[in-house]
């Protein structure tokens, strides 16, 4: 059970977008160059964020990606869902249905105690992710590493 590494890329790229905010769009290629990532593949992930309404994209020259809304309205859950999809990690295949007392019209995702418990546990995780916004992350970073915004801006201005 492993989460796509695109999630990490997306989170870092959103933070970078917030630090270089100039009203201008930033291309996927430049965002990729910052961490030496494959540009076309990062582009694919950013597309997913755009489809989810987290980023806004504009094609053509002077085009690229921008944040579609402020960081305090983007939760970690939003980003994870955009990249990974909305499906849960534990999926009850309802094997009880094939068992002795199994009926074809029972929804075992609801009635199976194992399914309930696993989903409840996963829900606490999702709630934790939904409770953290990218603004929280940004604030913590700026508090611990105050030079980050400036140096990031400088890097993108230089290249």
């Amino acid at each position: 059970m492993r989460m796509s590494e695109g999630v990490e890329w997306a989170l870092h790229s959103c933070l970078n977008l917030s630090w270089i905010e100039t009203g201008e769009a930033m291309t996927a290629a430049r965002l990729a160059a910052f961490y030496d990532l494959p540009a076309a593949y990062l582009n694919k992930q950013l597309q997913a964020l755009a489809r989810a309404g987290i980023l806004a994209s504009t094609p053509g020259p002077r085009g690229g990606f921008r944040l579609a809304r402020p960081l305090d309205r983007i939760t970690l859950m939003d980003v994870v869902t955009a990249i990974e999809g909305a499906e849960e990690a534990f999926r009850c295949e309802q094997i009880l249905r094939a068992g002795p007392g199994g009926g074809p019209h029972v929804d075992y995702r609801e009635s199976c105690v194992i399914s309930q418990t696993m989903r409840r546990a996963e829900l606490t995780w999702r709630r934790e992710l939904a409770g953290q916004t990218l603004a929280d992350i940004r604030d913590t970073v700026e508090s611990r590493f105050p030079g980050t915004p400036d140096s990031t801006r400088a890097w993108f201005a230089r290249t």
Copy 2:
């Protein structure tokens, strides 16, 4: 990000093992027949549980699998770890290292705020899983569906 379906099989099989407890071992084939699962593949999952010390296995005639310890000492986390492995879902690839201010000797799994937050969220999930034992599940099932232990025993006695 999807969890192996073997986790579901393993959890249900452990409960069944607790209900048919007779001092005798139960073969993977019979456990698989209960839910109409591929026997050889379920066997593979049970092997993982045995390696993790959750089940005890004995080969040969009259062989099979038994619970290695009581259900109240088997947590959901134990089973998930046995099947899925101990690695975390979110793995910080330390892309900050390749960035402008990145140093080769910094452990970004520890210092990166994104990594910290993602891991903390995942930890709440793991803690939830570790706080639930299979005995809790069994008690809830027996409370809601009192006939389950008997009917399960009966099915295995019949076949």
